[in-house]
């Protein structure tokens, strides 16, 4: 953890102390957010290192850089680290932890000690799983499919599964904390429809966390039971069904992708109104569609199993529902776009990231519709088309939104302003690098290059080279913030309470906030997003 060069302001939450125990034994949600942020960034770069090695290997058609087994371990490491050690906790555990009480007008979360415990549980699980993967490895892919994972791997599969199992508990703890906090600790006057959309999306995310993660726990438990005790629930020889694993696994893992994206949607819903100086268009639609995504997200998991041996009828049902789930996302996209209409748009760093989110999320989402169509999916499944689709959403969407949020709330969290020029350069660099990396993968997938293979026919090389080159640019774009944000901690100008002129309770307190968030408990008398442009003269009424 960096130490500020000068004494933190009296009255900031940094003031109580900088000793190790002030950080490791804190129950202050703001400090816990920093604990999470530092670990998550570390894991992001570990997962990124694995990705770098993968792209390096894919530079050439032959498997010259790694053996088959090593490559399998590499993409497994990349997937497990990115999904469970980074994406799932990312915005909720960092920005969510920091901002939820502030946005509600509360002093802290409902269960501060549970919050700290969730970080320790997270670190324990991550340490176990990381050790298992680095020492001998896991090569099943992050999806742990049976019967490979139960019957044929001879490495650290069980230990890795246990590590992920433990991380799941951390997720559930965070979810419980957020749900109870949102219900019980709102400030006077802070009714549900006066809440910022970020809170709505955190709430929807927390519901999914609590409802989906236990099923992952059950699934991993069954894998370990199979490997250790010989319990053959997924073993056909014992009358079991390997497909049952996939049902149970995807019952969690599909909603998990909504855990990953919903908070990003919330962040963008805060930033777009601010830098358009317009209220969020269709607030209630955005709020309800967030809940709708959470609900529908549990009804579509079979679209990962269209060619697995699932019944065609079930496939049709899942396909139909997968089309349906595009609707709430589309509603949000329309609302975000219309928010900017007749606005006074400026291009701060977080706005550039948010606009990038808008475009890349739409693109990736539309690709999802291709995959939702049963017949099309037979051609596209397990190809690079799928990889491109989910990277557009996860990286182009979620990571971009994460960076948008970090930049937007950086002054609030640290009391410092960063260099806007470098921020914009990094945002544009990562946008260009991202597209160069992943757009070729749509083409590769459509032309038939399978995923999880490190050798490929020569005709695919051109696109692969482009993709690997893009990865270099993307990596550059992601490394840059480390430098200028880190620099701002020491030398950045002091931030005012509300540098962006944004609405929301978190901006009504100092930057950084005091330990108990507000000098006096706030009272809320009007709705969110009260941005007004005098030249338009359109009074908007929000409850």
């Amino acid at each position: 953890m960096t130490i500020a060069a000068e004494l933190p302001e009296r009255g900031s939450y940094f003031a109580p102390g900088w000793r190790l125990r002030d950080w490791l034994l804190t129950t202050d949600h703001k400090r816990i957010a920093w604990l999470y942020l530092s670990s998550l960034l570390t894991f992001f770069f570990i997962g990124g290192a694995a990705a770098t090695l993968i792209r390096l290997e894919l530079f050439t058609p032959a498997g010259d850089f790694m053996t088959d087994d090593t490559y399998n371990r590499m993409f497994t490491l990349h997937g497990v680290v990115m999904v469970w050690f980074f994406l799932i906790p990312s915005i909720p555990a960092t920005l969510g932890n920091f901002l939820l009480p502030l946005m509600l007008g509360a002093k802290d979360l409902a269960f501060p000690r549970l919050n700290l415990a969730s970080w320790y549980v997270f670190m324990l699980g991550a340490a176990i799983a990381l050790w298992a993967m680095l020492a001998g490895g896991l090569d099943t892919g992050w999806t742990f499919y049976t019967p490979l994972s139960t019957m044929f791997t001879t490495d650290n599969t069980s230990i890795a599964a246990v590590g992920v199992f433990i991380i799941g508990f951390s997720t559930i703890m965070t979810g419980i904390n957020f749900i109870v906090t949102t219900h019980k600790l709102r400030a006077p006057g802070q009714t549900w429809f006066r809440l910022p959309i970020f809170v709505w999306t955190l709430y929807a995310t927390s519901l999914v966390m609590v409802l989906a993660t236990p099923v992952l726990a059950a699934t991993l438990l069954l894998i370990v039971a199979d490997r250790v005790f010989g319990i053959g629930i997924f073993d056909p020889a014992q009358g079991g069904d390997p497909l049952l694993f996939q049902h149970l696994f995807w019952f969690y893992s599909h909603p998990a992708v909504y855990i990953m994206i919903l908070p990003g949607m919330g962040v963008v819903s805060e930033i777009l109104p601010c830098f358009s100086r317009r209220p969020l268009f269709g607030y209630k639609f955005v709020a309800y569609s967030s809940m709708g995504i959470a609900l529908l997200g549990f009804m579509v998991w079979g679209h990962h199993m269209f060619v697995s041996g699932q019944s065609t009828y079930a496939g049709v049902v899942f396909s139909f529902l997968s089309f349906c789930i595009a609707v709430p996302s589309a509603i949000k996209v329309f609302n975000w776009t219309l928010t900017m209409r007749k606005g006074s748009v400026t291009f701060e760093t977080s706005m550039i990231y948010s606009l990038g989110f808008l475009g890349l999320f739409v693109f990736g989402g539309l690709a999802g519709l291709f995959l939702a169509a049963l017949a099309e999916d037979v051609h596209l499944t397990d190809t690079y088309f799928v990889i491109a689709h989910f990277h557009y959403i996860m990286v182009g969407g979620m990571v971009t939104a994460f960076l948008a949020g970090i930049h937007f709330w950086w002054p609030k969290m640290t009391g410092r302003m960063y260099s806007e020029r470098w921020g914009r350069i990094a945002a544009v660099t990562s946008f260009l690098g991202f597209n160069l990396t992943f757009f070729p993968q749509f083409i590769l997938g459509f032309n038939g290059m399978p995923r999880r293979y490190h050798t490929y026919p020569d005709e695919f090389q051109a696109w692969n080279v482009l993709s690997s080159a893009g990865a270099v640019v993307l990596a550059l774009g992601y490394v840059m913030p480390l430098f200028y944000l880190g620099y701002s901690l020491f030398k950045g100008p002091k931030a005012p309470d509300n540098p962006w002129g944004a609405t929301g309770l978190e901006w009504q307190t100092s930057s950084p906030p005091p330990k108990d968030n507000f000098a006096e408990p706030p009272v809320v008398t009007e709705g969110p997003y009260k941005y007004e442009l005098p030249e338009i003269d359109r009074p908007v009424d929000h409850k």
């Binding site: 519901l207 409802l211 699932q310 079930a314």
Partner: protein
């Protein structure tokens, strides 16, 4: 308000239901056995929930969370068994 009387009465009712469900096993009813057992299990759960867990006059949120659990179990079972039933 949970009184000793209501707690003990509930307990007695639960034991009676256990004996009932075990007893019904010895009457062959085919599928009916499973249904009876399930119904009795639900009844016992309702008793434990209503009396011991104070769900008779619950916090609205506690009641809602039970409803959410049941609904989500229906989703999980419904969509999964949908596949198995139509293979």
């Amino acid at each position: 308000m949970l009184t000793i009387r209501s707690a003990v009465l509930t307990y007695v009712a639960l034991i009676v239901l256990v004996l009932l469900t075990v007893g019904s096993t010895f009457i062959p009813m085919g599928v009916g056995n499973s249904l009876v057992n399930l119904a009795i299990a639900v009844a016992k759960t309702a008793l434990i929930g209503a009396i011991f867990m104070h769900l008779r006059k619950p916090l609205p949120l506690a009641a809602m969370s039970i409803f959410v659990l049941l609904f989500w179990l229906c989703l999980m079972y419904g969509f999964t068994l949908n596949d198995y039933a139509t293979r």
